[in-house]
Symmetry: C2
Subunit: 315 residues, 2 copies
């Protein structure tokens, strides 16, 4: 479960930080899911080790330009690269209209199917392994936070033990692997759980941007292994955060604390905190860590591996 930050600046790109985009790599599916797609996201893909051909889903938080202006270019390039099978896009109302309109004006014809889903609070996507939920945040336009949960997996199935019990290989194994009770042809009842190792709990992350501190962010982030939360401003500039409905670093930390997350990763920084200014990103980090010590700052191309058992891991 790998998260790669492709853009960590708010509003405008800087020389070292692009506007918002986060890639979620699912090695077991050979898929990449993207969260937001600011201008230049396709360029960031090229500079990373991610494969655009694996792009399968895009989740959009809100319709501000620094989160969507890279969509059309990326989708067009996926078509020209020629090896994308299908892309599902999830986002706020009007996203579909926006994309359709841009495609019409620019006469962009996609060579693969694209389906845009308008999200409503609740479950956005579910398959055997993952469930994605969203909740409304508090911004100047409708904005949604996303929570991605890997489903718990049954423990390793003990084949040798099953054979020793004289259970014939076949469809029964599937039920036993899932920890179910089965009745054998000879009448014996077997509890599958006794043939499985310990349950592997699924990992969880949440992505909350753009928003000021809000209760629904706390709910969405409840107990996740990784909370990615915007921190556009320093605490000292809280008035700007209130005016523009963005978060300060202290608000991000308060969400992490209240939701009892394992790790907070802050992103979406105002360019005003660039090196050389009176307040810098180290100050935002210190402010947040005073409230929630397990806080880090995202930077472009940082890859964070969500650990299985709370063991920290980053490269």
């Amino acid at each position: 479960m790998q998260i790669t930050f492709l853009g960590t600046s708010s509003g405008v790109p800087t020389r070292s930080r692009n506007v918002s985009a986060i890639a979620f790599r699912l090695p077991q599916k050979a898929e990449v899911w993207l969260f937001d797609c600011g201008e230049g996201t396709q360029h960031q893909f090229q500079r990373s080790e991610l494969k655009v051909s694996q792009l399968r889903r895009i989740f959009v938080t809100h319709m501000h330009g620094d989160h969507i202006f890279g969509l059309m270019g990326l989708l067009a390039s996926c078509g020209l690269a020629g090896n994308v099978e299908r892309i599902d896009i999830y986002g706020p109302p009007k996203l579909n209209e926006y994309l359709t309109t841009c495609a019409r004006y620019s006469q962009t014809h996609f060579s693969y199917p694209i389906k845009v889903h308008t999200v409503v609070p609740g479950t956005v996507y579910e398959d055997d392994e993952f469930i994605v939920r969203c909740a409304p945040l508090k911004h100047r336009v409708p904005a949604f936070g996303y929570r991605v949960e890997e489903k718990d997996r049954a423990g390793h199935f003990k084949v040798e033990k099953a054979k020793a019990l004289g259970i014939p290989p076949g469809p029964l194994y599937g039920q036993l692997k899932r920890g179910e009770w089965v009745t054998l042809p000879d009448g014996r009842k077997i509890n599958g759980a006794t043939l499985c190792g310990p349950l592997q709990p699924g990992r969880k992350f949440a992505y909350c941007t753009d928003t000021i501190f809000c209760d629904s962010a706390v709910e969405l982030a409840q107990g996740v292994d990784l909370l990615i939360h915007e921190a556009t401003f320093a605490h000292q500039d809280a008035q700007l955060a209130y005016d523009r409905l963005h978060s300060t670093s202290t608000m991000a930390a308060q969400v992490a604390l209240a939701a009892q997350v394992k790790q907070l990763m802050m992103t979406h920084f105002s360019p005003r905190y660039a090196p050389g200014n009176s307040l810098q990103l180290d100050d935002l980090l210190a402010e947040a860590q005073a409230i929630f010590p397990n806080t880090q700052m995202a930077r472009d191309f940082l890859t964070y591996e969500v650990p299985r058992d709370g063991a920290e891991s980053e490269n």
Copy 2:
């Protein structure tokens, strides 16, 4: 008169070439004019020595994504940078609608005036120093080539000679500087031209993309100091050029030859000619030079100074 290439790839960006954009720097006005604006053009500005705050005019050739998807982001950033006075945009029908629609969906409010002008063949813009004309090219959607002419300037005024003739300083000097005849208070008639150095002929460049070889490109480029012409394909791939209404390198050279230009700069290269492939950009250059020897290949961030007297200059 400085031209800086900000994007020289066609269709999709590569690691070393962005999609189309060309900046024209007018040092005497402290203005930058842009021709086309593919995705990531604002990022290219940041990597160049150009100042986005000097951006004053944008000329758009056609509505394909690789020429317009950077517009909204650049215009929004100009607003956030806060020091742009006004931007005039010139382009095909529907460009205004496209921008207005994108601004509405993304709730982008510009803090400075933007005026979009729909071009028709002929004069697009004129001031004391420059005249910009456009002509329709031959592509899959309406596309316009642009020709920028610096107006001829009167030669250096010989003040000492005027004083020696006893001409009183004042408004008469203005007329004489422009090479006009004036009548002095004492009745003498003086030809201003005799008091001026040799006329400084204005420099001219033309930008033709996207297009297959066409007569209107030849007309537009007639006698220019610099012709920037697309060369998406190698001669060997001419069938692709015919299918998609793009140019081969040989077509670009034929336009340059027929229009008797001083210098041809080719751009808008298909990524298929990247290093390591069987045909490479050196092959496109050789093909063109066989027809028009004074040919160069554009690359991102190449700055070409259009010389005053046909003396070649590049840095």
